[in-house]
Symmetry: C2
Subunit: 358 residues, 2 copies
């Protein structure tokens, strides 16, 4: 099986641990290795290095080359970020030039999966369905009424898969409010949209020709230059012309091709905030539900996430529900319930002209 | 007038800003200059450098010499800390060798005084009474029911001072509980004990001969060596023999000599904790009662004291009532209401063998 890993994230949500130059996918934030490496390792039973294409921002190419020195994975650098539709279209074009004609799995580089065997089994089943010309998306079985994720509603129509449940998608749903999220998790028809797709390059390009003809036209122009010295220049021109649009919105919600959802209960998390990382690491809590990393002295404190990534000593007393991230260049102290609002801090830092800390 | 400045404090209460090598009196914690210098500057209208004797720990002698390079103040280093009675006795002996026979004011090096003119006027009046052979203590007019200070209760008997109120002391009171403190501040008879005494060297030594005869005997032995090459060795032997005892407990509460209290409303604070420093600096709060020092980005946060003493960026969101002290070697984050408990942190740091951070 061939895998496309989308590693274009900007990584602002884990500031100050993540920086513009070194976003989340390059950090060992959820496990012992950087998330990009963990994503590559996870699919090893299905795909060797030479079967993997990593699409990433040009500004992170050197970081990726440092991380993958001996590996043979294909690296494809976007000169600027234009959301997922151009990225997936580019990967599909690139894959077809490589003669990768079988279904590709498109995976974000910065997600955590607790049960990789379940996940890989789902990818294999999705590939079977995708080989028939469908676009298959993994539907994560929701475990709590999250308002930070999009949802997928299934129909009751089965795809003709031998004895296994793959459903036609009824609709894609944007991030809901809490009452609707609570309704969704009580129903068996709703799943979290993890942004994981499986389809052949030909299916992707067919769908794009239909839904995003202007983008498709520009993609076609790229084909001849792939592998030639002109590629970088042509790619830059491509990214100057195309609009920023997501694959979900631009293709999945509009295409006339069959779109299926495959329910998957693999212990997925997008690790989208410090709070979700805290939740993920519950097995590492101390007796007072503190998650302590690095040198920390803690007295009479509960429900804190204290990540000391400096060589300093961090001491705390009487704290509740705080996030502390201590790095050599910056210190973040905030309410652990409000880590979704970290963007406000980033904006303020930009406003006072301290972008060098981002 | 001659002044003895007692600068022997260990400075643990302002960790991590204060360190064992550089305690509070050497930090510019309440104003633009180190507290020891501010104490010297404050008494300038009464005493020149050559009229000042600073008693301090030997381990801080180099720091003091660095701080006072051009000054002519007398420095007297204690080889170990034995509380205030030996320190005051030693200063009295030293002063009598210097032929300082008039009343001395004994002042802690690390207190803050908002109205220095009132304070100096009190010292002058106290000296008049002390010249008659009394020990005079300043009684700070209390402004809130503090449980962290000792109190002095006056009698209604006036000292014969021309038209001014100096009272005989009824008793010295240890730190009270809150109900008793509330009672005290409703009465005109109670004052905070600031540890500020005025007496002649002869009076001090008379009182010691009476109340602490063993200490007095050792002090007498020192006299001959003062100013000679043998002084340091003799002083070390002295400090190995004597017990640790406070002047309040050892002398003031026991002496048969007249003990007076002079009420003084000079805006005094012992700056005994981060919280009291926060209270002291109310004029520097932002609109949400945050006290921000150094480079700090703060969003939606109230009643915090954030002291950034590093070159890092500190960012906060959604914090209430926190103390954050960020130094190059250590970081402290704690409940601003509980800064009196900082000793628990110090003990824990000692326990894990990280004394180098103290």
């Amino acid at each position: 099986m061939r895998i496309v890993i989308m590693a274009g994230g900007a990584g602002i949500r884990f500031w100050p641990a993540s920086r513009k130059k070194r976003p989340k996918q390059f950090l060992n934030i959820s496990g012992p290795q950087p998330m990009l490496l963990e994503t590559i390792e996870r699919v090893k039973p299905l795909a060797g290095d030479e079967d993997i294409l990593v699409v990433l921002g040009r500004e992170h190419l050197a970081e990726a080359q440092k991380l993958l020195p001996e590996r043979k994975v294909h690296l494809l650098a976007e000169p600027r970020s234009r959301n997922t539709a151009p990225c997936i279209g580019l990967a599909a074009v690139y894959a077809s030039v490589l003669k990768w004609e079988d279904p590709l799995a498109f995976l974000p580089a910065d997600h955590f999966i607790a049960r990789p065997a379940v996940f890989l089994e789902s990818l294999k089943r999705a590939a079977e369905a995708a080989a028939t010309g469908a676009i298959v998306t993994l539907g994560i079985v929701p475990t709590w009424p999250a308002v930070g994720y999009g949802y997928i509603q299934k129909t009751d129509e089965y795809h003709n898969s031998p004895g296994r449940e793959i459903f036609q998608v009824k609709r894609f749903i944007e991030k809901p409010d809490l009452p609707r999220a609570q309704e969704y998790i009580r129903s068996p028809d709703f799943f979290w949209n993890a942004g994981i797709f499986i389809a052949t390059p030909a299916t992707i390009l067919n769908a794009m020709e239909d839904c995003l003809p202007a983008l498709f036209k520009e993609l076609k122009k790229l084909v001849a230059s792939i592998g030639s010295g002109a590629f970088e220049k042509t790619l830059m021109e491509f990214y100057q012309k195309i609009p920023s649009i997501s694959f979900d919105y631009g293709v999945m919600e509009r295409t006339n091709l069959p779109v299926f959802v495959l329910p998957c209960d693999c212990g997925w998390s997008d690790v989208g905030s410090w709070a979700s990382l805290y939740a993920l690491k519950a097995s590492q809590y101390d007796a007072h539900r503190n998650l302590l990393e690095g040198q920390v002295v803690v007295i009479d404190s509960r429900n804190n996430y204290i990540a000391n990534q400096s060589d300093r000593l961090v001491a705390c007393l009487g704290l509740e529900h705080c996030l502390i991230v201590d790095t050599p260049e910056s210190l973040l102290v905030m309410d652990l319930d409000r880590t979704q609002e970290i963007r406000k801090i980033i904006e303020q830092i930009e406003k006072i002209g301290k972008e060098d800390k981002l």
